[in-house]
């Protein structure tokens, strides 16, 4: 018998001092799970609902529609909002369907892939939502400069003085957007970054 076979034999004969009874095992199965999947599910639901409830926390959100009407964007704003809810419903369903596929009795590779797929639908949702928001802001700003007298006045001031207040304002808006996007990215990296990097590494190793 070679050393490896001997080792294998010892492995099979190993005893564990701690042997739990049926009652003790029953108590264990009733405890609360600390599984990361549970947390991913909770966080994902929170994300969906945060975006869903977002408008209700912005003061004057509903009055803003009157303003959009004044700059000829009433129908556009309604359309964008409706589109937002269509996107939300689509990705929520996709997330739920993918989430249901996550079963610990699947193979290791399949389980990891279904966790990644389920999370991807939330990520796509966030990206689509942010893109839609950015397009909306840009269109509103363009029309504001065309129809809102306050903005038109700004252009006139900009033309008469060399300070270029419009340029300053545009830079300020871009900076704010960059800061918000960076904060979001940092937030996502802290919550999911390391875990998903690990999952992807595991899949690579399995396929190698």
């Amino acid at each position: 018998m070679n050393k490896l076979d001997a080792l294998k034999k010892e492995w099979k004969n190993q005893k564990f001092d701690l042997q739990l009874s049926k009652d003790e095992l029953h108590q264990l199965t009733q405890k609360k799970s600390v599984s990361s999947i549970k947390w991913i599910f909770i966080f994902s639901c929170f994300e969906f609902f945060a975006y869903l409830l977002f408008p209700f926390f912005i003061p004057d959100y509903f009055d803003a529609f009157e303003y959009y009407r004044s700059i000829h964007l009433y129908h556009f704003s309604i359309l964008v909002n409706a589109l937002g809810y269509v996107i939300l419903s689509y990705f929520m369903i996709q997330f739920y369907l993918n989430y249901r596929k996550i079963k610990t009795s699947n193979s290791i590779a399949f389980l990891i892939e279904s966790i990644i797929a389920s999370r991807k639908s939330v990520n796509k949702y966030v990206i689509y939502n942010i893109s839609l928001f950015l397009v909306f802001i840009i269109v509103v700003l363009i029309n504001a400069f065309r129809y809102d007298e306050n903005y038109i006045e700004l252009i006139n001031i900009g033309n008469s003085s060399s300070e270029g207040s419009i340029v300053k304002m545009v830079i300020a808006i871009i900076m704010i957007m960059i800061i918000i996007l960076t904060l979001l990215l940092v937030f996502y990296y802290i919550i999911y970054g390391r875990y998903f990097y690990r999952l992807k590494k595991l899949i690579k190793e399995l396929e190698a």
Binding site: K3, L4, W11, I108, L206
Partner: protein
């Protein structure tokens, strides 16, 4: 307790050493072992309704147990009570091979500790004498891939034994 639950607990009690082995391989200290044991037990019970007896109970146990240890159970392994975990595992791995039974097993766990998460699953299934088809199915890879990976690990272990 339902009849179903009684059956489950009976089987769990009988085969609990599978969980003990997984926990010892994937944990860094005793308290972590206990926590992982609990999480695997919870996941087994949660997943039991979907166990339809297509595979053996033990095959299903390896799957749920390994999945829980590798993907569902997350703990920061970098620091344990202020000590650097990688240093501890390095110390455990540098122990010399000793022919006495207890030390052999201790030595083996020390070596396994230096393996990657996937290698740990492969070595466990190899030591448990599982067929290549079962190993492939548990990991979700092809049988050829499983064979290649196991042979690579066997070589690695043999070299360690000869050192």
């Amino acid at each position: 307790m339902h009849l179903n639950e009684t059956d489950f607990l009976q089987l769990l009690e009988k085969h609990q050493n599978i969980i003990h082995k997984i926990c010892r391989i994937y944990s860094y200290d005793y308290s972590d072992q206990k926590d992982l044991f609990q999480e695997i037990s919870i996941q087994l019970w949660k997943s039991y309704p979907s166990f339809k007896g297509k595979s053996k109970f033990t095959t299903w146990m390896y799957r749920v147990g390994l999945n829980t240890a590798i993907t569902l159970y997350r703990k920061n392994k970098k620091t344990i009570r202020g000590e650097d975990y990688s240093k501890i595992s390095e110390l455990k791995a540098n122990e010399e091979y000793d022919e006495t039974k207890d030390n052999q097993i201790k030595w083996l766990y020390g070596k396994i500790d230096t393996f990657s998460e996937i290698e740990k699953a492969l070595i466990l299934l190899y030591l448990e004498d599982k067929k290549y088809s079962e190993i492939a199915e548990t990991l979700g890879i092809s049988e050829v891939n499983a064979r290649v990976k196991i042979n690579r690990l066997k070589k690695k272990l043999k070299t360690m034994l000869e050192q």
